[in-house]
């Protein structure tokens, strides 16, 4: 291993403990997937909670689900899919040696989509606060909750606990993602991602797509459950 290999131009950075860039790339991929596996299990626990409580209180789940804004949730699903496409294209630009500016354009677009998601989520949360749909002692008396949920009032509160934990944790991942995105954009600006080594950007892409996959499951499970039986309830 010559020193030149470590400091070669064009962003080629090979750590001394790897034989070559291929091995370095595959190790990064494996490590990132190991991390994502822990994330899948971590979110999986919450999905398990959801399944168990939904089976215990199916009617409360339907009533509570109707209080969510399907339009906002649906638009956010589309926004995240767009952000995944632009993320994939940012990495593709690095792979094909498209240069810094196209990379930065795709990354900026991804950033904008990510931020749009969070802004919409913010307005959704505000709506829930306004209607008193916040799990806590006040849930039992505030807004129209007693009329809407009737006998299922306490069980509906469990739904909203899970709604806020699951979407909140997802939103937290988005915020972290945007933070890392800014760092990636700085690296991209410095020309660190080239066709021979764009590992950092690709690993970040895996994280970004993973967060999208979580939302792909959250949307139907939280927003669309029992939509066919919607008997109003939207404020």
């Amino acid at each position: 291993m010559s020193q030149q290999a470590h400091a070669a131009p064009g962003g080629v950075r090979l750590a001394h403990h790897f034989d070559d860039l291929q091995q370095q790339h595959e190790s990064a991929q494996l490590g990132m997937w190991a991390f994502l596996l822990t994330e899948i299990m971590f979110f999986g626990g919450l999905f398990l909670c959801y399944i168990i409580y939904r089976n215990l209180y199916p009617h409360a789940w339907e009533l509570a689900s109707h209080q969510l804004n399907v339009l906002m949730g649906g638009v956010n699903t589309a926004v995240l899919i767009c952000s995944s496409l632009t993320m994939a294209l940012a990495i593709r630009t690095a792979q094909t040696g498209g240069g810094r500016i196209p990379q930065l354009i795709w990354l900026s677009l991804t950033l904008v989509f990510g931020a749009t998601f969070l802004v919409i989520k913010y307005f959704e949360y505000v709506e829930k606060f306004k209607h008193g749909l916040i799990p806590g002692p006040s849930f039992l008396t505030s807004g129209h909750n007693p009329e809407i949920f009737g006998e299922e009032l306490r069980h509906a509160r469990i739904f909203f606990s899970l709604y806020f934990i699951m979407t909140g944790l997802h939103a937290f991942h988005m915020i972290v993602g945007i933070g890392v995105m800014l760092w990636m954009m700085r690296c991209s600006w410095k020309g660190m991602f080239t066709p021979t080594n764009y590992d950092g950007l690709e690993m970040f892409g895996l994280y970004w797509h993973f967060v999208d996959v979580i939302w792909i499951f959250l949307f139907p499970l939280l927003y669309l459950l029992g939509a066919h039986a919607a008997g109003g309830g939207h404020h």
Partner: protein
């Protein structure tokens, strides 16, 4: 040991195709949710979600073009998830059998 290895570069039209499929399937999720299919609503919604997740994982996340170790890791995560859901599920499912 060369630095000239080539990673698989996914053709642009595949990315666009996956994107369009994801948007279409999101519409399909909404549309099927409006239909009353009795106990089938959730399985249908989950089937669509799994297809969407597979598209993202295989194409956007490049797992289709990754080595066997990475593929094993992905399958392992599904397996561990199934163990967690399966074991907890059989407990709750059979509690009422005790009467």
């Amino acid at each position: 040991m060369s630095d000239e290895h080539k990673h698989h570069i996914v053709p642009l039209r595949h990315y666009i195709g996956v994107f369009l499929a994801l948007i279409f399937l999101t519409g399909a999720t909404y549309w099927t949710a409006l239909m009353d299919m009795g106990p089938l609503n959730t399985p249908v919604a989950m089937a669509i979600a799994i297809v969407k997740a597979l598209l993202v994982v295989l194409i956007f996340m490049h797992v289709k073009y990754s080595n066997k170790l990475v593929k094993t890791m992905v399958v392992a995560s599904a397996l561990w998830l199934a163990i967690m859901f399966g074991f907890a599920g059989q407990d709750y499912l059979t509690r009422s059998w005790l009467g």
